[in-house]
Symmetry: C2
Subunit: 338 residues, 2 copies
DNA sequence: TTGTAAGCGTTATCAG
DNA sequence: CTGATAACGCTTACAA
């Protein structure tokens, strides 16, 4: 049934009148082949329609060229932006991205990593969730590089890339106070991921340092709808806040829409709002949201740079590092007096 | 340097006191192994930390389990939603997704497909761009399944999934007319992809059938910013339209924001707007956009169902088919009198 | 620079 | 049901 469909290096070698090692070397960057041999091999390959079998190559080299991207909530603006950047840079680095969606089912990060191991991935980048320690160890032991983005872990093996969430949150307090706000609030989801909690704690702490109390509310998943619900809860109180820091832009958009259209509250006139991530929609005229920019392309380039080092390379650097990146405040119209 | 890091089936076999074929069979769904052997193998595998090498397996089976997703503008709401659905269903089908981003560089769909061939992908799904005929043929010849989504091609080999764009566009005309609109316009990008053009032509034709002329404008890439520019061009004319059909929701959002905030035109009071795709933002209160829903999960399930058929299976079905799906009109507030 | 030969970790085939 | 043996397509010493 399944006759020979692919051309093998042997066939190319036969046609070109050389050995199969010559063919192999022709397709191995930086191997020594004479110009003549090379040309004849290339011609034969072209004529026959030869394509290197990366499966076999990976088997021999112990290096598949595959990098696993493990992600949930993939259709979210921030996540998809990061994904775009990562795939682009990986391709430039000669790697290929294997995408694993961990949306449904719990503990699926572990499952994903096991998948990565079965395909002998050179590295994995974890954009969401946290793997079990044992799996992490397994990955590292098998020579797989690991990158954790915004996971805020302290394990030694992987590369950890995080933002200065706490400090950033402090800057929002300053901005709110300068805008004349006094009744501060923080709108969060129930996800309780490290970065979300760091923003909350940083905000509360900075306000406390100024003698202000913050009303904190958490609800649902980190999306637009949750933002609306949070607004309903927080804007119907006797002591209505005049400034809200939302843990993400999606929450902020929902919050703002509810404030304006449901409660007829003017933003930023009666209520200042800030978000986090700087998703594309934050810049849309309807929102014009002041927010913090995730340095997406820096994150991606740091990640790719590190994981595409050759396996043996640079003993020090390949020991997990921790990188803290700066989240820049993007001033827009949702806070008075920029 | 790189000592043996992975456990092989041989080692498992030795420890379990069986042959390596027994190990292989244990990890092959639906192979015949006695319960006792199976248990001993599983124990040994667990103890040693054995993980099937999919590279080697793929090499033997002529089936890698890899499906390539070829996509550009990956961070766009519609694309990322489709991507989410596809990855989820692929995983359920026991496949693994390899993501190729064709953003930069031209002819990169061809490049992507060659990548797919090198990794011996079982199938490729093309979400954007069009591959060269010769490459398509190459893929099919090497037994790779091909799915084209919204590419509207007529080649015989691949599975083609399209929407009833023309007909849908006709329904918008009806809706506009019923809302009392007389000066119809169509806002498009310059991308000129088949589906975009089908929407334009369907709209113009349906209007013509009712004796109405449509003012058509095309600008830039299919995004929010282009929508704003289109609004600036179309809303400053002497004969200002009272109804605009935008080729995508992103264009519509930009158009609507410019109309309201830049030209103080009331939507839907003075101007009705419709979009296409039903991205998440279309349902946000600020836009409340009437639009057509891409049946994303149906698209994905049709695609996955078809490409995960075994290679020999169903001679008829594996010959490329063409599926036309229905785009359902989602009524919201951007057209009067729903 | 080139060819020879020995693997890499699987699965398929075929006896037993 | 089980085990030997032969592929699969490639890379890489090693020797020429």
């Amino acid at each position: 049934m399944s006759e020979k469909v692919f051309v093998s290096a042997q066939e190319v070698a036969d046609r070109a009148g050389v050995s199969r090692s010559a063919v192999s070397r022709t397709f191995t960057p930086g191997a020594s082949v004479s110009a003549g041999t090379r040309r004849r091999v290339l011609e034969a390959a072209e004529a026959l329609g030869y394509h290197v079998n990366e499966l076999a190559r990976g088997l021999m080299r112990n290096e598949s060229g595959i990098v696993c991207l493990i992600v949930s909530d993939l259709a979210t603006p921030y996540r998809s932006a990061l994904l775009r950047e990562l795939t682009l840079l990986l391709q430039n680095a000669g790697k290929v991205a294997m995408l694993i969606n961990t949306d449904r089912s719990d503990g699926s990060v572990d499952h994903a990593l096991r998948q990565a191991i079965r395909y002998r991935a050179d590295a994995s980048v974890i954009l969401s969730g946290m793997p079990d320690k044992s799996i992490t160890q397994l990955c590292l032991r098998t020579g797989q590089r690991l990158v954790l983005i915004n996971r805020d872990d302290d394990e030694p093996g992987p590369l950890r890339i995080n933002l200065d969430d706490r400090e950033a949150a402090g800057r929002v307090v300053t901005a709110f106070v300068r805008a004349g706000c006094r009744r501060l609030a923080f709108a969060n989801s129930e996800a309780r991921t490290p970065s979300l909690m760091a923003r909350e704690q940083g905000f509360v702490a900075a306000a406390a340092a100024l003698g202000m109390e913050v009303s904190v509310e958490r609800y649902g998943w980190t999306g637009y709808e949750a933002g609306k619900v949070l607004a309903q809860r927080m804007l119907t109180r006797a002591m209505r806040p005049d400034a809200v820091f939302c843990a993400t832009d999606l929450l902020a958009c929902g919050f703002m829409d509810a404030a304006r259209h449901q409660f007829s509250i003017s933003v930023p006139g009666q209520l200042c709002i800030a978000g986090f991530d700087n998703i594309e929609q934050a810049s849309w005229t309807s929102y014009d949201l002041t927010t913090f920019a995730q340095p997406v392309s820096t994150i991606a380039s740091k990640a790719v740079e590190w994981l595409s080092q050759a396996r043996g390379e640079s003993g020090d650097n390949s020991q997990g590092r921790s990188i803290e990146l700066h989240a820049e405040l993007v001033w827009r119209g949702s806070i008075r007096g920029g």
